[in-house]
Symmetry: C2
Subunit: 207 residues, 2 copies
DNA sequence: TTAAAAATTTACCGTCCGGTAAACAATGTC
DNA sequence: GACATTGTTTACCGGACGGTAAATTTTTAA
């Protein structure tokens, strides 16, 4: 019984630090984040961070992977579902988060988006995000391609279509987060339905 | 002859500081911007900034308005043009910048986008950006409404359509800037044409 | 020409922040 | 139970950064 009891020793500490970093980041923002702020969010002292991570930059890099993993882990795919249903499901997951309103979801997205934007100034972080973005877009493109192959969707340029949908999702989330437009995701959902997806269903009866 | 000669006294200094701030911001990023960096970008000493602005925050707030004014000033409207042409022109301006490749355009957009994202942590800056975003979206919605009124466009929800286009533009620019996807604006342009604008032209012959 | 006002520079300071070293506690091992 | 290893805390430092005060130059107004 080396773990899961009162003392959290070793591996769990990194997890504790990650969560504390999340809270600190979400309160102070990337620019004003101090190691001290992270320390204030945990029961341990801030110096313990230096034992587990090689300085502030290393910590933030690890955190970046941590929060991206959480994002991707929350997107569940269902290969067997009908393509129209599955496409809608994936769009909804990206726009509204996993299942019934998780209260921390938008807080996480806020931090995620801030890190995303700051990554433009750091080659390493930028690459991590680029790969991640690729996977998210890929999960949309995938369904579009499947739909085209089986003849359910019009034979459009799947990459371009997937990219467009991903962009709209991204922008709507960013608008909700940065400008406080609470209805942005819902409105984006409607716009996608009314103005974009019809290009996929063109030859069919709309319902 | 109080100005416009060798000595730049008074009003011009603020302009010099703004441009120096732009360069410093574009080199170091918002997070790592030091007053010293701005000083290094001008011929004057960094302390002169404190004479013209009330500290770092005041400087950045002024800079925010400065760069937004530049953005909006670069968008030219033509009320007389045919609505389809005018809509395309405005989309292009937002996506590619004013006229033939201005080399500083994307550098300015990079700074603009970074400030935009950081604004989420500052109520005052956030409001400035929100108003600005409203005006940009408005300039798109406007054309769509005109087109619907004169019967050139389908009677869609103009606000939703304008918002969608604005979102796509914003996302594509962000992707080019943050992830280095050089072709994002061009691809977005094609996607808008192929998958979105057709909802406006539905009853007409496509060309 | 000269004195006041405005603008800029030089020199300097207090504080804040990331990081480290050494002391201390807990855990595992024989 | 001793002792090495790992993990955490306490105490502290050096440098960096924003800001200021006073000296200096430039401009404006008589």
């Amino acid at each position: 019984m080396s773990e899961s009891r009162d003392k959290v020793s070793s591996k769990d500490t990194r997890q504790v630090i990650m969560e504390a970093t999340f809270r600190a980041l979400s309160e102070h923002g990337y620019k004003d984040l101090r190691m001290r702020d992270i320390g204030d969010e945990m029961e341990l002292t801030r110096q313990v961070i230096h034992y587990h991570f090689d300085g502030k930059y290393d910590l933030l890099s690890s955190f970046l992977e941590y929060i991206i993993d959480q994002y991707e882990g929350s997107v569940e795919v269902n290969e067997d579902a009908e393509v129209r249903t599955e496409l809608n499901a994936r769009i909804d997951q990206c726009l509204f988060g996993p299942e019934f309103e998780d209260f921390s979801h938008w807080e996480r997205m806020k931090v995620y988006h801030e890190l995303y934007t700051y990554a433009q100034n750091d080659g390493e972080h930028r690459e991590i995000f680029d790969d991640h973005y690729d996977r998210i877009r890929g999960s949309i493109v995938e369904v579009v391609e499947d739909g085209i192959e089986e003849g359910t969707f019009e034979p459009v340029n799947a990459d371009r279509m997937g990219q467009l949908i991903t962009d709209v999702i991204h922008a709507a989330r960013g608008r909700r987060i940065s400008l406080g437009h609470e209805d942005a995701p819902e409105e984006a959902r409607k716009a996608i339905d009314e103005f974009i997806l019809d290009s996929l269903y063109a030859s069919q009866t709309e319902d």
